[in-house]
């Protein structure tokens, strides 16, 4: 009995050491998964706000798909079709109206008043156009944009 005690102790110590090593290895392989990266900061929310005008651009041509003006202009010639591209942000239903007027010597003549109702889900471009078969009279004009009958923006232009 006495002769075998050191051997037993050695066996027990070795077993414990092996067991601890195994547990340590197991712990290493079952380490907690890396937490997912923190979510990126939310983008500025331009979706859940009422429709409002971001920009008005006049031109004599647009891309029919994107409704973007080819070139911003404020001077036209008699036979131009004149486009007013209204870029909006926000969402929901909105009535976008353009009121076109002609100005001379303090007098104002209404040229056209057109409404497009949209159901926006985010940024959008709405293109209005006017043309005159007989050609535009030379002079000073203005287009005013309304959203739900509230004035939004105005831009002057000329026909030379």
């Amino acid at each position: 009995m006495k002769a075998s005690t050191p051997v037993s102790v050695a066996v027990i110590v070795a077993a414990l050491a092996f067991s601890m090593a195994a547990c340590q290895k197991k712990e290493d392989t079952t380490a907690m998964p890396t937490p997912p990266p923190a979510a990126a900061p939310a983008a500025v929310d331009v979706i859940n706000v009422p429709v409002s005008v971001k920009q008005l651009t006049l031109s004599n041509s647009i891309d029919e798909t994107t409704k973007k003006a080819a070139t911003a202009m404020n001077s036209f010639v008699a036979n131009d079709t004149i486009y007013a591209v209204v870029d909006t942000i926000g969402s929901g239903r909105a009535a976008i109206k353009t009121l076109w007027t002609y100005h001379r010597n303090g007098q104002t003549a209404q040229v056209n008043e057109t409404v497009q109702e949209i159901d926006a889900t985010g940024p959008a471009s709405t293109a209005f156009h006017i043309s005159k078969p007989g050609g535009w009279p030379v002079g000073d004009y203005q287009v005013e944009v309304f959203v739900n009958d509230a004035p939004a923006t105005v831009q002057k232009f000329t026909v030379n």
Binding site: E64, T66, K67, T88, R93, I96, K97, T98, W100, Y102, R104, Q107, T108, A109, Q110, V111, N112, E113, T114, V115, Q116, E117, I118, D119, A120, T121, A124, S125, T126, A127, F128, H129, I130, S131, K132, P133, G134, P137, G139
Partner: protein, 85 residues
């Protein structure tokens, strides 16, 4: 197409033949329409003839304005109506 009856006289140019329209990248909740103010002597068929080239299209205008026009034979100067584009 007619633009509006709001243009004053006094030598100002005539914009009654101005044509217009609109389209959007957003869903269009309704077709674009032009606003027109009824003048003395107007009728829906007369307006339809001027706007669409066909007097028989008066019903198109009537249907777009049933909230304010109850009888197509009774329209009044000063009424602002929608002309579908």
């Amino acid at each position: 197409m007619n633009a509006s009856s709001k243009s004053p006289g006094g030598g100002m140019p005539d914009f009654s033949d101005v044509e217009s329209g609109a389209s959007s990248t957003a869903k269009e909740a309704a077709p674009a329409y032009k606003l027109y103010t009824i003048k003395s002597g107007d009728s829906l068929s007369k307006i339809a003839k001027h706007e669409y080239g066909n007097a028989n299209d008066w019903r198109r205008i009537f249907e777009a304005n049933q909230d304010i026009i109850k009888n197509p034979d009774k329209i009044f100067p000063g009424q602002e109506i929608k002309i579908p584009q």
